[in-house]
Amino acid sequence: MTILTAVLAMGGLGLLLGLALALASKYLSVGQDANIPLVTEALPGANCGACGYAGCAALAGAIVEGSAVTGACPVGGTSTAERVAEIMGVPAQPVAENVAVVMCRGTLDASKKKYIYEGLSDCEVVAGLSGGDKVCRFGCLGLGNCVRVCRFGALTVTDGVAAVDPDKCTACGICLAACPKSLIRMVPKANVYSVRCASHDKGADMKDICLVGCIACRICEKACEYGAIAVSSNIAVIDYAKCTNCGACAEKCPKKIIYCKTQGKGV
């Protein structure tokens, strides 16, 4: 008799709780779109946050909901956008692929220093000491804050200047915020030429500061047939929408600071 009561009580309790859970799972279920896990799968899964969402799963939710476009992942690029569009059953949109570029080539031999820095290997720290150890206020400090934040191993510091490996760069944009000098910019992958100087110092001053600094001579402006490069605030700036990759500016530049991505890795 005791055994029977025990079995009945426990069995009944289990049954009751089981029923309650079954009912709860029916009435309290949160409708999750079946596409969300599929889209999450198609995304790179780096959870880097470059899209502006908390991670790949959050972006997948936004894409399925319709608040984000299928090509919202800057890391995955065209191939990911195509797969996501396929899952969502919409035509794929072209993705403007970008790549990060360090706007400074002021290596140890090219750029003068105003003091010798010995201390924490951190760009923020040296940037706080009268703007860094380089005479140029705008130049790369070369202590690799960007290298440390890059999850894809695309950045390296050689000769005191950071450089991006365009093959490894996924344009996630995390390094942009890490640079105290804001030297890393996003440029369209399709454009191979970029001006690798960010100095707004006057041309006459620049001659004494750095061998590879823009002297605002405007030769590139004259060389460009398409009006795609212009000097403003003492620095040449390429309008990537107009640039045709002809390379005339790079050829004429007396300081050779307009670099071509495809010639030599990591510059």
Binding site: T2, A9, L13, L17, L21, A24, S25
Partner: protein, 193 residues
């Protein structure tokens, strides 16, 4: 009555701290104590579940087990109720309070069968507390758990930067620290209230 509840609370939080004196709930104590933030999240989830579990198990014991003379089934019955309860709470939160679910979400399933939760349910019965006292004991014991967890997490965060001999790095130093904190908590046992 109020005085009694106060004494119960102080003793549950400090004198008979679940983790450091009774050694219950050691698994999350070591597992979820790397960051103060997660320690607080886990502590909140445990407080929530332990308060609820205290009430539910007390009701089960008083209205089901005692009348049928089935006290020897306490452990299995309590596990059953607690496990179902946590599942139910998780579903309820996900549907009704998604923000709270996102904050506690990952910790809830972790404490389904945590021994601290079962421990508080059994202790309530052993000490013959009434319903209100059970609830208060459940919540304050969990607050004691949270206190221990947050203290420990704070120490561990500092240990990250400390220069620790290689053979002590990681778990060994964490266990030594836990032991030292437990010894410090022994001091409360001299407290007279």
């Amino acid at each position: 009555m109020l005085k009694e509840l106060f004494i119960l609370s102080v003793s549950a939080i400090f004198i008979e701290n679940f983790v450091l004196v009774k050694f219950l709930g050691i698994c999350p104590f070591l597992g979820v104590s790397k960051k103060t933030e997660t320690a607080v999240g886990m502590g909140m989830a445990v407080t929530f579940v332990m308060g609820l579990a205290s009430v539910m198990t007390w009701l089960l014991n008083t209205y089901v087990l005692l009348p049928f003379g089935l006290e020897y089934l306490q452990t299995i019955g309590f596990i059953l109720v607690i496990a179902a309860l946590v599942q139910l709470v998780e579903m309820f939160l996900q549907k009704m309070l998604p923000s709270l679910y996102n904050a506690l979400g990952i910790y809830l399933p972790l404490i389904t069968t945590n021994c601290a939760v079962l421990g508080v349910a059994l202790l309530n019965i052993q000490k013959e507390y009434n319903l209100l006292m059970s609830l208060v004991y459940g919540v304050t014991a969990a607050l004691g758990f949270m206190l221990a967890l947050v203290l420990f997490a704070g120490v561990r965060e500092h240990l990250e930067d400390a220069d620790i001999p290689e053979f002590l790095q990681g778990m060994p130093i964490a266990l030594i620290t836990a032991g030292l904190i437990a010894m410090a908590f022994l001091g409360f046992s001299g407290l007279k209230i």
